[in-house]
Symmetry: C2
Subunit: 221 residues, 2 copies
DNA sequence: ATCGCTTCTTGATCTGCATCAAGGAACAGC
DNA sequence: GCTGTTCCTTGATGCAGATCAAGAAGCGAT
């Protein structure tokens, strides 16, 4: 159970809540570890927990009758998902899958609701988290509708570059298949987008990305 | 100023707040009326108000550098927008436009924040509203990514039919151009989708829609 | 290193929708 | 009713990206 408390206590959800209470809650939290591509929660199932990603990445997806599924979000360490359940609702609105493997903390929904009644600040915290998620979702909709695949990829790469740097090298945090899903693309389309960005100074070798000129890349958005 | 208090007091945002306080707030609220396609708020501008649609419809949209814009939501009477500002943030994340004309109520953000500190239940209410918006946005993303134009239109029509009815006639609540935007389509694509749904028993004359068999239409989703 | 598996890339094809352009229907004002 | 305007539809074309199929590259295990 690596580094349990340090990350846990910094959770946005518990800001302003009595330290002792948080520690109690942390003690009550369950932890689970998942291999790559394992299902963490199933869309439509009765919801009992709010999750927090401790390690690795978690893909949230919705699926249609035909079985195809679309990712709606990729959660990073520190992210919360299922927090919308705090305000009611009894079922998960999406499935959650571990990306390349993930460790998550589970908080009993009933515990959290009790705690939230006791510490109203938790509702404020919940709003703050949901604000982030909502703005992200709206950006996603607008991005899908306004930008081409290449533009969305360029945008993603720029978002991973420090604002001030002129050229950057970094590793993708997860498999390209996952990134493609996050951007609403088939894996092939992501490859082609990378290829299309070569003239913009982007070089991709495995999971390593070299951005020759952030400014140039920014123009490709 | 038609029917000011009745709708206002039922606002999700003020559930559980002292009746007298709500009435004070209602008195302090400004009202504005807009002609079709007028701008109500501008993306990126400093935010000072949370809005509530009293009448008509309001389109929320984001735009890209090139000037093209995409609708991310259409708000109906009773809907709140800009509520995410309660938890911080200082600028509007989207533009808002009146659809076929709209009347909105404006609540000063600073007033609301003060009130929310006094009545923590408002944060819970805010969460409830944002939950609705967030789930809607996620449905939208998944819908865009998984369904064709025809399926999305079929889906919209079904959502406007009472669950139990077998055949239904109703009027579209706004111009088709607006509906197309809401569904992420060009107006032409909406027309073609309607045409494609004729075999599913859908007939469209002007703003009037006849659904011959809701069950049949449901299969087209 | 070599093997074997997974992940990624590239090419070919096809579909869905945007876009452009023009004709037709609805509707408000007179 | 007519007339002008707005809104919608239909047709033709083009492009972006999905999908299918096969080959290449990366990577962990031995």
């Amino acid at each position: 159970m690596l580094a349990k408390n340090p990350i846990l206590l910094r959770s946005d959800l518990f800001d302003g809540v009595n330290q002792v209470t948080v520690e109690e809650l942390a003690a009550a939290a369950q932890f689970q570890t998942f291999a790559p591509d394992e299902r963490i929660v199933a869309e439509g199932q009765p919801a009992a927990f709010v999750y927090r990603v401790m390690n690795g990445f978690v893909r949230l997806s919705k699926s249609e009758s035909g079985g195809r599924e679309a990712d709606i979000c990729v959660c990073e360490p520190g992210d919360t998902f299922g927090e919308y359940l705090l305000s009611g609702g009894g079922a998960y609105a999406y499935s959650a899958w571990s990306a390349d493997g993930a460790e998550v903390a589970l908080f009993e929904l009933s515990d959290l609701r009790t705690l939230a009644d006791q510490y109203p600040v938790m509702h404020r915290n919940g709003m703050r988290i949901m604000t982030r998620h909502l703005l992200g979702a709206m950006d996603c909709i607008a991005g899908d509708r306004l930008h081409t695949a290449t533009q969305r990829v360029a945008n993603y790469l720029v978002s991973r570059c420090p604002a001030s740097a002129s050229h950057v090298t970094f590793r993708l945090p997860y498999r390209k298949r996952i990134l493609a899903g996050k951007l609403g693309l088939a894996p092939e389309a992501l490859s082609r987008a990378f290829a299309a960005l070569v003239p913009a100074g982007v070089e991709v070798r495995g999971r390593t990305v070299l951005v020759g000129s952030v400014d140039l890349l920014r123009k490709a958005c």
